[in-house]
Symmetry: C2
Subunit: 258 residues, 2 copies
Amino acid sequence: MKKLYLVGTGPGHSDLVTPRALAAIEASSDLVAYGLYLDLLGAVCDGKTRHQLPLGEEIERARLALDLAASGKVTALVSSGDIGIYAMATLVFELLDLQQQGLEDHPEWLQVELEVVPGISAMQAAAGRCGAILGHDFCTISLSNLLTPWETIVKRLHACGAGDFAVSFYNPRSQKRDWQIDSARDILLEYRPPETPVILGRQLTRDDESIRVITLAELDAADVDMFTLVAVGNSESRQFTTPQQRWVYTPRGYSKKL
Amino acid sequence: MKKLYLVGTGPGHSDLVTPRALAAIEASSDLVAYGLYLDLLGAVCDGKTRHQLPLGEEIERARLALDLAASGKVTALVSSGDIGIYAMATLVFELLDLQQQGLEDHPEWLQVELEVVPGISAMQAAAGRCGAILGHDFCTISLSNLLTPWETIVKRLHACGAGDFAVSFYNPRSQKRDWQIDSARDILLEYRPPETPVILGRQLTRDDESIRVITLAELDAADVDMFTLVAVGNSESRQFTTPQQRWVYTPRGYSKKL
């Protein structure tokens, strides 16, 4: 059997890696990943052949994973978070689709059995760390305009505002992209109050985790980097403080019954 | 220490329960949940005091969990999926917020330390089972108008269409609510093609799981029940078939590079 696992390993902490993800890695002889993700996993990767391609070489990683699996090596393509959410899984399926259309020359890829193992995504780790900002309808928007035209992102920001969705921003900033998060803030401020709660979750569940709860008006690119998940509440989201910490939640509409 | 865990146990299969969720349940003497969720967990619940309240008694479950924890019993409030996504966590935080405002009379609740343990949500299980429909920007909408006015849901459906988000519908149908999913389909058909891929995922990861990939035009309330997750692609989502099965994915925009 030729097998390729597409594995999401969660936000970082080992106790948020599912048993299914661990089993998939254990069953594999070859691991394809950005190196940091494998370091976080620790001993389960010992003895495996590691194929560590740098950030930016996503297409090469997807091709390599399909090639290795097609050659008979049980392979796991690994990413942090959920590999199906802004991650590598979709690229593998896009390559297979191209092959099916005759636009690639790798018929052997179609003999590979695929299994996707979902994982806890950063938005879930951020929400849980501070309460329940995802308690009602929400959306996710990647602010990276490397692959998506900025006009498309702007259209989605306005739709998020008009629909009053809570929103989690992925890829809010990088070294070369420093203004997108401020633009996103300004668009959302056309639709919801300046005191709307915002979570800045950096390096979630990892040793150097930091969490801040601020307001939409306070959101500033200077406080955000490529390791930050930015979550913005909808117009009904609230924040409050207990002796333990500051919390954010989005109500579901029970208030009439409470 | 007074402690309340808010625990999501994933879609159903034990190998998608995180070690952190298991540890929280193990550390608790009292479990509050809809009974089925505990049955799915199996032996880890043995010897715990179970407080099994029926569906519909969500507020009572949240109050009971806070009361038990405040009385000194280490308690886990358990739900399937992610307890932060359309589940019980937000209700616990809403009660705490009301207490902080002096609208409840339970100051003892504020002495409880809370820990939210996220879980794999149904949308992630559905997406992974069939490929990568959540590969780019997406939203979630609950079609239950028991707590949310239908006008709000309609507004979000139009925003979803205008923003061209892939969408996962939670609570698409119940015994008393049988027309909402057809209305949602009709609204989305104003924005995206009839051949847009749709996943119907029923009882995901459980023994009686069933999965179908259809088109938006084929979506019909007759094929949906309260155990079904309905996921609709965006205008760029594609479906294709390999010897293994039918797949759905939403591309991220690598096509120019491929």
